[in-house]
Symmetry: C2
Subunit: 317 residues, 2 copies
Amino acid sequence: MATISDVARAAGVSRQTVSNALNAAHRLAPDTLARVTAAIEALGYRPDPTARSLRTGSRHAVAYPVPPDNPDRPNALMGGFLHCLVDEAGTRGFRILLTRTDRASIAEVIAARQVDGFVLSDVLSADPRLAELDAAGVPYVAFGRLGGSGGWVDVDSAAAMAEVVELLVAQGHRRVGYLGAAEDLPWMRDRRAGFLAAADRLGLTVESRPLPDALRAADRPTAIVAGDDWLGLAGYRMIGEAGLVPGRDVAVTGFNDLPLCDLVSPALTSVRIPVRLIARVLVGRLLDRLAGGPTPEHGALVAGELLVRASTPVRQG
Amino acid sequence: MATISDVARAAGVSRQTVSNALNAAHRLAPDTLARVTAAIEALGYRPDPTARSLRTGSRHAVAYPVPPDNPDRPNALMGGFLHCLVDEAGTRGFRILLTRTDRASIAEVIAARQVDGFVLSDVLSADPRLAELDAAGVPYVAFGRLGGSGGWVDVDSAAAMAEVVELLVAQGHRRVGYLGAAEDLPWMRDRRAGFLAAADRLGLTVESRPLPDALRAADRPTAIVAGDDWLGLAGYRMIGEAGLVPGRDVAVTGFNDLPLCDLVSPALTSVRIPVRLIARVLVGRLLDRLAGGPTPEHGALVAGELLVRASTPVRQG
DNA sequence: TTGAAAGCGGTACCAG
DNA sequence: CTGGTACCGCTTTCAA
């Protein structure tokens, strides 16, 4: 492996000049630059980022703690998200370092100064990792809304739920049930709130009885809005157990647009999460901040995409 | 941030002694060790892996190129796999660095000496990345079988397919169709070969007509073995289009055990891939190699787990 | 515009 | 068992 000294020797200049050729080419005389560049080419020289990091203190790397995965309900979007993250960071010369999610592991990565910043996801309220990062002064951005700072990006679930409600209203639904779960998760709470707000605004009646009972009542809801796709399928089951047919008798919507939406019968109307865009904005905000830019005032909301499928058919009459 | 010099000064020893306390504690007098340890604690000193790497040349990091993800058919197992990978590597003091999969990116990571080795997946035959790694002498292990070396781990699809065939035979099936696709992918070819071998050994007749036609024939196959779960669902559709009912009229099996197997109706019999075990063996082999151990002669095959569900019911008569 | 010297934070080697 | 010295490969500072 060629070092900077090898190149300097080959080009008949000092090591500094080689360094300048790489980092501040404009300060070199044209012919010197040409000579150095030729030597770099000839020797196949690549500066060692480790040595550079030691000197400059910047690591050109970002950590992403990989959330644990429930094998029975894997996050099918994770692979795509990471691919996009790597891609977006890569085009700006940064790498993604995976870490465990526990506080100790994160503390270690910070203490070892292995990265310049963090990308977080699945952030809970009062997440201990945030305290850790704040205390150490390590910049981060989160996928999912945070309390104060503008260092976050999230799906605009309120807007998405409003679209869902508008769809149902347009299809003639007047009484709708909401199927939620895990409401300790901020994003699940957020979706419910978005639904309720839109339902209120558009004059939809929200079912208050437990859904299994409500579906058997004479004035049963004609649609169920679920907090995610898995819950949507739970809705299918409830509907079936009430002797009704999902889609035909009761419309259903999900959230996340997992691939199973197209597979189940009827295909499930859902909201697609723009993974690529989210990765881009996350990386953009973090790297801008690392570059010394100001922290944006507000978090960024990106629109989900409502995909209407057979589970929300146009109603006859 | 405390440095090794700070600790040395605080403990009244040289930097070298602090270094020894960390890396070769047995060479220190007990009381010196105690003094140094106390100083480390007091100052919260953590050695900087970047500086250490510069000196030793080892990065304590492993690269994993993230395969691109088809949004319409995401790899639902990726999140869990990466989590396991991080976990297994982490317990041995190694980190996972994500990279892009293209040859140029990999060449860059190698040239920049950013990792000690690679974990690969989705390796094609004559994969250009292998040439790159071999040429540079960078150690690697692959999820998925490789030509010569023992640096790989894979699911024993032949054994798994044998289990599938045995199940079908036991259930009274005599004529079975195979539904494959993307046979340029080694693992897909491997599954088909495993099926054919087992069918041959157990005297099963393999359907040779195109499945849509065969299902309409009088001597139609009574079961379909699919190369993966998505193909299993394609099988469901073919069966339905032939006026038959999957599970009841024609048994179906998949492969991978995606979560959708439990969701579809009938639930799809499939083979679960032991992701955690695979990650463990991959990391184990790579790190053993990095530690100077010998390369194993053979690749490792790990058993898949056949999960029998409603799509392969016990046959009446 | 170019170069010499110092140093980033550790570890290897060797002397005592 | 401990410490002095050189050095890993690069960039920053300051003179020439």
